[in-house]
């Protein structure tokens, strides 16, 4: 009798442990723990860690997108792993190793498809967001060494499209997945040398490639793809010695304030300011190091910038009106990523070497709270679910 009770108790406990949180997810998010292959699920209102999900493989370069119901996150790992996690239940739902070495992914406009871009083998694979079954395999152009070009800068675009760039062969491709069984590709082969990342404007109209192999950026108007790519800011960096780049900048997100956009300058200690009407340079802000992320507070009033090694112990805040650095924060070595809460009153910053997340009040620009995390890198809040390109 006693033994039965114990068994029943154990079963009951098992059931409660398998239980999931009953709450909305709008103030939740995940933090990548890059060295341990795990993800923390956090609450941005309570400043709390809710759970840790393990077994996601090599997350040394990882990013994530959300299902449109903001319950599931899809995490893209360096080892080609694509993992679907349930943030309410704090558990891994499914994991597939879809490539040898991947760099990022995107979710389609309607939320039904997940696309992953791969370094090895080059190309993009598209999966069902429901069960991660393969829907389409799009191999990249082969390089002269016979390998598929690395694909980078993959984003979603309106009309069930994905846009990405081919690093080795200097191309930009639009992948139309309206009819999943019949993917349609539109290729632009004149992107420029070594496009290293791409971004799309929040309205989903303009796609821009950053170029490592030459000055300037390549712009594609998705309302008028027939007009092709054209080069913008092609004078920047001309005649100036480019500094060695110890970490490639990221163009994830689009730092826009009014009609100005802010971009990291490759190989320069500068943030570039671009007029989004004319696509001409409208200023440069000298900063502490080579910028990695330039992130606009959701209201566009401030830009928070972090830097490449060996200056990755600092964050600077730029006033978008005066284009001046208004604050320099010594966050600590290995400051890797920043994420604003949906309406921007706080920013969460991951500091790898301190094994912590620092939460700052963006109005006073002061530290509010620290949370423990193992070698944290990317921070992704659920409001990304409803933003094109994120």
């Amino acid at each position: 009798m006693k033994a039965w009770l114990i068994v029943l108790l154990l079963i009951f406990q098992g059931v409660t442990n398998a239980d999931c949180l009953t709450r909305g997810t709008g103030d939740m998010g995940i933090i990548i723990e890059r060295a341990s292959g795990s993800v923390l699920v956090i609450d941005t209102s309570a400043h709390k860690i809710l759970s840790r999900i393990e077994g996601l493989g090599d997350l040394s370069h990882a990013s994530a997108v959300y299902s449109r119901d903001e319950r599931y996150a899809y995490v893209f790992g360096r080892d080609g792993g694509l993992t679907k996690i349930d943030i309410l239940c704090g558990k891994l739902v499914k994991r597939v190793v879809q490539g040898g070495n991947s760099i990022g992914g995107a979710i389609s406009q309607d939320g039904s498809l997940i696309a992953v871009s791969n370094y090895v083998p080059g190309g993009v694979k598209v999966f069902s967001s429901a069960d991660l079954s393969l829907v389409a395999d799009i191999p990249a152009t082969k390089t002269d060494k016979g390998k598929g070009s690395k694909t980078v800068g993959l984003v979603d675009a309106p009309g069930q499209k994905f846009v990405f760039a081919l690093y080795d062969t200097g191309e930009t491709w639009i992948l139309d997945m309206k009819h999943p069984a019949k993917p349609v590709l539109t290729k632009f082969t004149d992107t420029g040398r070594l496009p290293y990342d791409g971004l799309i404007t929040p309205d989903g109209r303009y796609y821009i490639n950053g170029l490592f192999g030459e000055d300037g950026l390549a712009l594609l108007d998705l309302w008028h793809p027939e007009k092709g790519l054209h080069r913008i800011l092609d004078h920047y960096g001309k005649g100036e010695q480019q500094l060695p780049v110890y970490k490639m900048p990221h163009l994830e997100g689009w730092a826009v304030a009014g009609n100005q956009a802010f971009l990291p300058a490759v190989g320069h200690h500068e943030v570039l300011v671009v007029n989004t009407k004319s696509w001409k340079e409208s200023g440069r802000v000298p900063v502490y190091g080579q910028p990695v992320f330039v992130m606009a507070r959701p209201d566009g009033r401030q830009l928070w910038v972090n830097f490449a090694f060996p200056n990755n112990d600092t964050v600077q805040i730029i006033d978008s009106e005066t284009l001046k650095v208004i604050k320099t924060l010594k966050t600590g070595k290995g400051t890797l990523h920043m994420e604003f809460t949906p309406r921007g009153e706080e920013v969460w910053i991951s500091v790898r070497d301190k094994d912590e997340i620092q939460i700052y009040d963006t109005e006073s620009m002061t530290l509010k709270k620290r949370l423990k995390a193992q070698k944290p890198s990317g921070i992704f809040f659920t409001d990304r679910a409803h933003r094109t390109g994120l």
């Binding site: 809710l50 090599d58 040394s60 080892d79 070495n101 290293y196 060695p244 110890y246 490639m248 090694f309």
Partner: protein, 129 residues
């Protein structure tokens, strides 16, 4: 209101944290054992702390392009088999001078020639930092 299990899920986290600390401790210990084995060799001037620093740099900063497991990313894999055809000297030169025309930057501002050679020899042996 959080369900009761939310508190429960925190427990493994603390366990992981302490495991993480043990792991870090072990890494340091192993690095120092490794270092002490090495003090007798040609790289005697490299103290164990510096070796640990270099391995950390390899894992996290080189790792941002070559992958934290050195299996490749934007930059090629740095596995033992792939590096076999190259001498320690050539590899050290690549580390120090970078590779013009590619994103590989020169690391000479951050390490000496001896240190680059030590790192190159570790890579050829096939380490997982």
């Amino acid at each position: 209101m959080l369900p009761a299990h939310a508190v429960g899920t925190l427990k493994p986290e603390f366990l992981n944290l302490s495991l993480g600390m043990i792991r870090v401790g072990l890494t340091i210990l192993m690095a120092s054992i490794f270092a002490s084995c090495h003090t007798a060799s040609a790289h005697a001037e490299l103290v164990s702390d510096r070796q640990a620093e270099l391995l950390y740099l390899l894992k996290h900063d080189c790792g941002s392009c070559h992958g934290m497991r050195l299996e490749g990313g934007l930059g090629p894999a740095l596995t033992s088999s792939r590096l076999q055809p190259q001498s320690v000297e050539t590899l050290a030169m690549t580390i120090l001078q970078g590779r013009p025309g590619t994103p590989m930057p020169p690391w000479h501002p951050f390490m000496s020639e001896e240190e680059a050679k030590w790192l190159a020899s570790q890579l050829k042996k096939g380490i997982t930092p």
